[in-house]
C-alpha cells in the first residue's frame, strides 16, 4: 500500500541544509492503523505530508498502491490526493464562511461530482457523524468536537484509501479527543488505512502499530524503543520553522 524506501527530505534554511527526514524505510499495508509518535521537530509531520503528497522527498522512492508517486507533477499529485487521501488536521481547517454541510461537500465540488450525488453523500455523512442538525451552522457556531467531526466527514467524503491525521486531538479536551479517535478507528474497520501523527502517548498507544521517530529517523516500532541519546540542540534544528 504505502512503501517508503530510503526517503529523505532536506530543507534549505538560508544557506544551511537541514534534514527533516533521513533515510526513512516504511511499509504500511492496506487497512493498517499506524501511529507516528515522537517529540516535536522529529519530522513526523513532514513524513505525513510526504505520504499525503503535499510534499516531495529529496531522495528515495515512494510507492502508493503499487505505483511510483515520487516524481509526480503537481497536477498528478493533486489528483492522487483527491482520489486516495483524506486529511484531518489539528486546527480543523474548516472554511469559516461555509456551513458544515458545504465544508463536507468541498472535496466533492473540487472533484467535479454532480450536484445530486454530492447532496446524497453529504447527507449520509452528516447522519453518520451526527451532524444533521448542525448542517447549516458555520464553523464558529460549532464546538471543537463538532468541528473535528465535520473535518473527518470531509476527509472521508471522497472515500479515500488513506486517512492522514495530524494531531487530530491536539485542540480538543480528553473526552472529545477520545470520541474523535473512536470515529477515526471505525474507519479502519472499513479497510481505510489510518495514520495518526501525535506526541500524545495515550492517543498513539491506541494504534495497532506504533512508529517512533526522533530527529528525522524511525527509531522503533510498536513500543520497542531503540533509544538513542539526542542532544537537545539537534532536536530543535531538525524540523525548521517554516512560518
Amino acid at each position: 500500500m504505502i512503501r517508503l524506501e530510503n526517503v529523505s527530505r532536506i530543507f534549505a534554511v538560508g544557506d544551511q541544509q537541514v534534514a527533516a527526514l533521513r533515510g526513512i524505510d516504511l511499509n504500511i499495508a492496506a487497512g493498517d492503523y499506524v501511529s507516528i509518535m515522537g517529540p516535536s521537530g522529529s519530522g513526523k509531520s513532514t513524513l505525513l505530508n510526504l505520504i499525503g503528497l503535499l510534499d516531495r522527498p529529496s531522495s528515495g522512492t515512494y510507492r502508493l498502491d503499487g505505483g511510483d508517486v515520487t516524481d509526480l507533477s503537481d497536477e498528478q499529485q493533486a489528483k492522487v490526493r483527491s482520489e486516495k487521501v483524506g486529511f484531518v488536521f489539528q486546527a480543523f481547517h474548516l472554511v469559516p464562511r461555509l456551513t458544515a454541510a458545504m465544508n463536507i461537500e468541498l472535496p466533492l465540488i473540487l472533484a467535479g461530482i454532480p450536484a445530486d450525488e454530492r447532496k446524497a453523500r453529504v447527507e449520509e455523512l452528516m447522519e453518520n457523524y451526527g451532524l444533521t442538525d448542525r448542517a447549516d451552522h458555520r464553523p464558529d457556531q460549532l464546538s471543537g468536537g463538532q468541528r473535528q467531526r465535520v473535518a473527518i466527514a470531509r476527509a472521508t467524503s471522497m472515500r479515500p484509501t488513506v486517512l492522514l491525521a495530524d494531531e487530530p486531538t491536539g485542540n480538543l479536551d480528553q473526552a472529545t479527543g477520545k470520541e474523535v479517535m473512536n470515529l477515526l478507528e471505525q474507519l479502519v474497520a472499513q479497510q481505510v488505512t489510518l495514520i495518526v501523527v501525535t506526541h500524545d502517548p495515550i492517543i498513539g498507544g491506541r494504534a495497532a502499530r506504533q512508529v517512533r521517530m526522533v530527529d528525522g529517523q524511525i527509531t522503533g516500532e510498536t513500543g520497542q524503543f531503540v533509544g538513542r541519546a539526542m542532544p537537545a540542540e539537534t532536536e530543535r534544528r531538525a524540523e525548521p520553522d517554516l512560518r
Binding site: 510534499d55 497536477e75 483527491s82 465540488i109 473540487l110 467535479g112 471522497m158 517554516l242
Partner: protein, 401 residues
Amino acid sequence: MKFVDVVQFASGSLRGSRTRALLMMLAMSIGVAAVVVLTGLGEGARRYVVNQFSSLGTNLLIVFPGRTETTGFGPGMLLGQIPREITLDDAQALLRSRAIGRIAPLTVGASQISRDALNREVAVLGSTADLLEVRHMSIGQGQFLPAGDVYSSESVCVLGAKLKRELFGQQNAIGAWVRLGDRRFRVIGVLAIQGESMGFNTDEIVIVPVASAHMLFNTSGLFRILVEAKSRDTIERAKQDAEQILSGRHGERDVTVITQDAVLATFDRILRALTLAVAGIAAISLAVAGILIMNVMLIAVSQRVREIGLLKALGAPAAQIRNLFFAEAILLSGIGSVAGLILGEIGTRVIAQIYPALPVSAPWWAVLAAFGTALGTGILFSVWPARRAARLDPVMALARS
C-alpha cells in the same frame, strides 16, 4: 470542478468579504459610468450641433463677401481696401446656374421697433420670400414676405414670435402697423416659435423685404446669400457655379462660398475628437479600478492562504485554484461593470431631463468599450494574484496561522 460550482464558490468568497467587494464594484462602476456619461455628453453635443446645422436648411451654401485666404502683403492691404459688396443683382445672377435651386439674399441690421409707446432694439433681416423654404422656417400666423419682384420695397414685415408677444401681447398683430427706424411697416405674418439655432434667435427678429432693408439702412450690399443647391449631388457644382458667376461679375474672385457640409464635417470631427479624449480620460479611472482589483485580490490571497492550502490538500490542482481567483475577479469587474452601465444610463437620463435640448446618449461603441475595458482590466490585473495563489506551497500555507 464544474463551471456552476466555480461561479458559486467565487461568489461565496466575495460575499465573505462583502464590504471590500462592494467598494471594489463601486470603483469599477464609477469608472464605467464615467465613460458612458462623458461619451454620452460628447456625442450629445455633436448631435446637437449637427441638428442645429441641418435645421438651418439642407444642401445649403453660404456666399459672403471677401476672400477668407491669407494673401500676404498685397496692394489691397496697402490701400485699405474693403471687399467689394455683393449686390441684389449678384444674388439674382446666381439663379442662372442649373445646380442652384433657390436663393435667399440676406441683409442684416439693427433698428428700433416701436408700436405705440412700446419700443425695443431689434435685429432686422432683409430677405425674400424664398427665405422661408431655404432657411427651414415656418410661419405661425398670417403669411411670409410676398413672392414676386425682389426689388420692390414694400412696407410689410414678419415678426418673430417673441417679438410679437412683447409688442402685441395676446392681441392680433396681423394688419397692425409698427415703426422701424423712420418707416412704418404693416405686419403681415408672425413666425412660429423656433427658438435659438446657431446663436441666432428667430423668435426675436423682424423680417422685411430685402429692398426695404436696403432703404432702411441706406445700403445696397448683402450680408450673405443663402443658396440652396438642387440636390445633395449638385452642392459642389453649385459652389463652383456661384464662384464663377460672381467672379465673372466682379472681375476677380472676391467672395467666399462655403458649404454647410464642410462646416458640419469640421464640427463633426472636432466634437468626435473631443468625445474620444473625454472617453480616454474616463478610461483612466477604469485602469485605476483595475489596479484596485489587483490590490483586493492580493489581499484576498494573503488572507486566505490557509484556505488555499486546504483546497490543495483536498485535491485541487494549481490551475483550479487559479481559476477560482480568476472567477472572483471576473465576477467583481463584471458585476461592477453592469452596475456602472446602469449608473451611466441613469446619469444620462438625468442629464437629458435637465438639458432636454441636448440629445445625450452614449454611442454603442463607448458602452462596449467601457464594458470591455472594465472586464479586461479586471482579468488582467488578477493574473498575478491568481498565480500567486496557485503557486502557494500547501504545507506552508496550512501551517500559516
